[in-house]
Point group: C2
Chain length 298, copies 2
């Protein structure tokens, strides 16, 4: 192999996926580590990468992390996982620990920005700029690529927390978001389904009438993203979108809500190529971390 | 004067403002033309600029136009005002006519993008990137500057048409948008006020209880823009924001809706410098057209 090798970490609340490679077709090593305590988890991450660094096989590592992950340059907790409800992980200097123990350059971003980068580099949104990657699962979050890079503004983007229409007659559930009640995440995330159906959200049959409502919430949020961000493609990932029958429902409801206002043949004639599942399947995040490592240190 | 001179046109539905200058402090000539028929209006625009072009005083013109204004490169109606309800103006090749009659380079953008450019170049958002300019008046629209330029995606941005929360008990008005009913523009624009109060919207006293509701709609939309676009400053222009008592109301409601979720001192401690009126007053649009002319031809 002639390509330079890099390390990649997808740091998630339930698992860490680590790999060494150069691109999706050239992965030299890979491991999956259960997320337990920070010490135990990071020790396993360090043990995985150590030989590659000692032998000077890899030149840097990219990491996409769960959050809240502090990416404010100049902040005293830059690179920390800050006030997470995940037991034991609050105020963990995950980046500093790995950098010190591995003595290697580490480029960092949020988990969803990493996934957006992965899809833009090697997946469904390659050559679509601007593009939007959305994950709809335990949480709802978005990564927006513009001019080849995730949008960086005042804050880490929190587009899962936007307000959408909520018809209480149709769906009296008050929402599960501790901050906003019935924001998009509060209505449509995995935990919202769990609460709405007393713990049975994950087992709802595909023909349950609730899925029409869920698709409506997703469509309503997508319409707002389309009108505000004007992405050239929208990728929907995350656990809930594993229910692939949601895609045609969401697409139709997006068109219904726009109601002919937007005169774009991409939307009107080709919406099944506009709102799509990830091209990299469940590997968007870790491959995005790989893309990140190359951009930052290459 | 040593600076190069350019022309600028703010093409609006009620008036065209035209000027020749180099920057806000060096305006050589200016005129205001009532918008009547395309022929009459454009003839006056041509007559204003003709001497400056014949004498080679100006090098190019920037124009921000009302819409729908076709900015899709390669479109057969590029530079046209397309299907506007404004009588006589549908499918007017405004750019082509001016280019042909004046024989000069013309750089074009939407009216709201021009205003966003003006504020970014010389006004309240100078040095704030990304930044958001919003007009709330006859219509509601936004221009988002990122990496020094207005965001260009799949479509012309239509962020005035996002859905926001609408409590029918508090405000039973069904909305005035012919496409979406109670979208943000349908609830909070000038025509929405006009309809809601049977033509008396413009004369509502400052202490009318409706303004609390209006400020709530504006705040609700701003929260969505903040969570999706993360601008470093938000400028609110347009006729409705001339009611300056709305600013403190909107700011407080934005903080209330975010409910502590966003930990940014810019928002939490300095919101009166974050949500602000235009620095250029009612000249954002025409000065933005001037900025546009320089970028495109300089």
């Amino acid at each position: 192999m002639e390509n330079n090798l890099f390390g990649a970490i997808e740091a998630g609340g339930t698992k860490f996926v680590c790999l060494v490679g150069s691109d999706p077709d050239h992965i030299e090593a890979q491991t999956r580590i259960e997320t337990t305590t920070p010490e135990e988890t990071l020790n396993k991450v360090i043990a995985f990468f150590k030989p590659f660094i000692t032998k000077r096989i890899i030149e840097g590592i990219g990491m996409g992390s769960f959050g809240p992950f502090d990416l404010s340059l100049g902040s005293s907790t830059y690179g920390f996982i800050t006030n997470t409800p995940k037991p034991g992980w609050s105020n963990t200097n995950i980046t500093g620990i790995l950098r010190q123990e591995l003595n290697v350059k580490i480029a960092i971003d949020t988990d969803v920005n990493a996934a957006a980068r992965g899809e833009f580099r090697w997946g469904a949104s390659a050559r679509f700029d601007p593009s939007l990657y959305l994950t709809i699962g335990t949480g709802i979050g978005g990564g927006y690529i513009i001019n080849g890079e995730p949008l960086q503004g005042l804050l880490t983007l929190e587009m899962g927390h936007i307000r959408i229409r909520h018809d209480l007659d149709l769906d009296p559930f008050p929402g599960s978001c501790p901050f906003h009640g019935d924001c998009f995440e509060g209505l449509a995330s995995g935990p919202a389904l769990y609460k709405r159906f007393d713990g049975r959200g994950e087992t709802l049959l595909d023909d349950h009438p609730y899925w029409e409502i869920e698709a409506g919430y997703i469509a309503s949020a997508l319409v707002n993203y389309i009108l505000i961000l004007s992405p050239k493609i929208i990728i929907l990932g995350g656990g809930i979108m594993q229910r692939s029958f949601l895609f045609p429902l969401v697409r139709q409801k997006v068109l219904d809500e726009l109601n002919g206002y937007v005169q774009s043949s991409v939307l009107l004639d080709h919406i099944s190529e506009y709102i799509v599942p990830p091209g990299l399947g469940d590997r968007s995040g870790v491959l995005g971390a790989l893309a990140l490592s190359q951009l930052a240190t290459g």
